[in-house]
């Protein structure tokens, strides 16, 4: 079973995203060498965040690499992969990871499974991946053809973050000089309207729909999300009404999320919405209409007025968590 498994770690502040650690944990469980790849100006500075989960850390450094386009990042990774021949290259199935791996797959001509929820060892050192298709209405099991490297974007929360082990060795490499010139260039970064939305990795998501009646209604969702330590999502109806940023939309034409807990406030449960959250572990639906379709797809249902129920639930959860 030749070749290491690489995980391209996604920077987040001074550390990396949790999904990068989840991927490292999964890679280690599959056996063989686990390599965390860091890209950045001072990539080695982030090494302590990943070294306890990897046999080796490759810190690829260039002044523009962290902010560089996926074009530049894919070029650097492809070069490295050609010389070092990893068995597989993983990243988190976030906007960042998927943008990068799509480009890398084309550059290497390598098999790629985006948004895998399972990754396991198949026959002969092969890897097999499982991913939802058709909005999660079926799961496909896939194998790779050819010698690899095989590329996999792993969905956040698919595997637990691993416990730290012995720190792997750190190797620093300089990326080629000409990267900075590769477009596109980021000229501005903006926070999402209505506060940062970071649903990708949220443990708990409180999503609100037309039933919250306006942007003010989202304050109730915020309150409950705060009590749960989670993030706020929205139905398309709420987004189209202008109550929340597009980035918060969950569903077919929004984003796919897979938190441990998903609480829907005033959302009817149209199939288009459910397609974005059906793989959430526990689903709670609060709706005043006992016949709302969403109840059929929930674990726990509460019938009543969300304006009364949600704040009380937030209070109750706060109490339980303080104990």
């Amino acid at each position: 079973m030749a070749g290491a498994i690489w995980v391209v770690a996604e920077p987040r502040g001074d550390a990396v995203r949790r999904v990068s650690l989840e991927a490292l944990g999964r890679a280690a469980a599959l056996g063989g060498e686990t390599v965390a790849v860091l890209l950045g100006a001072d990539a080695a500075a982030t090494a302590p965040a990943v070294a306890p989960h990897a046999t080796r850390v490759l810190a690829v450094e260039h002044p523009t690499l962290a902010d560089a386009s996926s074009t530049a990042q894919a070029r650097v990774l492809a070069e490295l992969a050609r010389t070092r021949a990893p068995r597989a290259i993983l990243a988190g199935a976030t906007a960042w990871g998927r943008d990068l791996l799509a480009r890398l797959a084309a550059r290497l001509g390598a098999g790629y499974v985006p948004d895998a929820v399972e990754l396991s060892a198949g026959a002969d050192g092969q890897l097999e991946a499982v991913r939802p298709v058709l909005g999660g209405r079926a799961y496909a099991r896939l194998a790779f053809r050819g010698d690899g490297p095989w590329l996999v974007a792993l969905r956040p929360n698919a595997y637990p973050a691993p416990a730290p082990g012995a720190a792997g060795t750190v190797e620093r490499l300089a990326a080629p000089e000409d990267l900075a010139a590769l477009p596109p260039r980021v000229v501005e970064r903006k926070a999402a309207a209505g506060g940062p939305v970071d649903l990708a990795e949220a443990d708990a998501i409180v999503a609100a729909g037309r039933g919250v009646r306006g942007p003010e209604g989202f304050a109730i969702a915020e309150q409950l999300a705060a009590a749960l330590g989670g993030a706020v999502g929205a139905s398309r109806a709420a987004v189209d009404a202008g109550w929340r940023d597009h980035a918060a939309q969950v569903g077919k034409s929004g984003r796919t999320v897979a938190p441990r807990l998903y609480v829907a406030l005033g959302i009817s449960g149209a199939v288009h919405h459910r397609m974005g959250m059906d793989t959430a572990r526990t689903v709670v639906v609060i709706n005043q209409d006992a016949n709302a379709p969403f109840f059929k797809h929930a674990d726990y249902g509460l019938v009543g007025d969300l304006f009364q129920l949600a704040p009380a639930l937030a209070e109750e959860i706060r109490k339980l968590r303080e104990k």
Binding site: A74, A298, G304, L320
Partner: protein
Amino acid sequence: MKIVVLVKQVPDPEARVSVGGDGGPGALQVEDRWCTSYFDEVALEAALALRQRHGGEVVAVTAGSGKAVDALRRALAFGADRVLQLDDPALAAADGLGVAAALAAFVRREQPDLVLAGRQALDDEAGLVGPAVAERLGWPHAADAVALEVEPAAKRARVERTVDGGREVLELPLPALVTAQKGLAVPRVPQVTGVMKAMRAKIDKLDLAALGLPAADVEPRTAVLGYRPPPARKPVRMVAGDFPENVRTLAALLRDEAKVL
């Protein structure tokens, strides 16, 4: 300005889906109901808005056979100037990378200023084909665009895109590829006369040989071993009782039974 839009016909999101007995590669059963992938309609609408503003031509292309052609009829009904179907037996087995190879070969022939695609197709949700076409062409791309301005004379585009946690504004030189996120444009509802005309239009086809693409370039790099139904959720537990007792019960269930607190 010339714009190529990549469009794909996909099973309707409301089509019934089931997995047959043996769970093998042929086990996926999808009801015969189709639509053009939502984000591709957004891309098409954005292309038409750019044509309105800057003049030029909008060319829609799809890779596939059978129902695939309906995406092109849809594009004609929207108002595309020209449509092309890439149709070849070798494409039937292709995965996203193979499809991207064929589409890139087509784009190379057309030499547009801009290619627009959907951020992901509603069926496989890979988000692969757009960036992969750009990589094969050696072009820059911007994914998940919610706003797009083009300066054709300066050969420059400015894209606002969604990223985890917010938005980013990118500048890229043309030619470039941009994938459409919801919000970039609102797809029109085409007029009946346009739809009727599109139904009758003759659609030109190109095969791989015409594109100068060896069949090996579209060989799949992944193989489907089988399908299974999604994990079943237990029947819902409706929390009974009056307020505020019901809320307390729910919170306790979340802590003790679901163990999510």
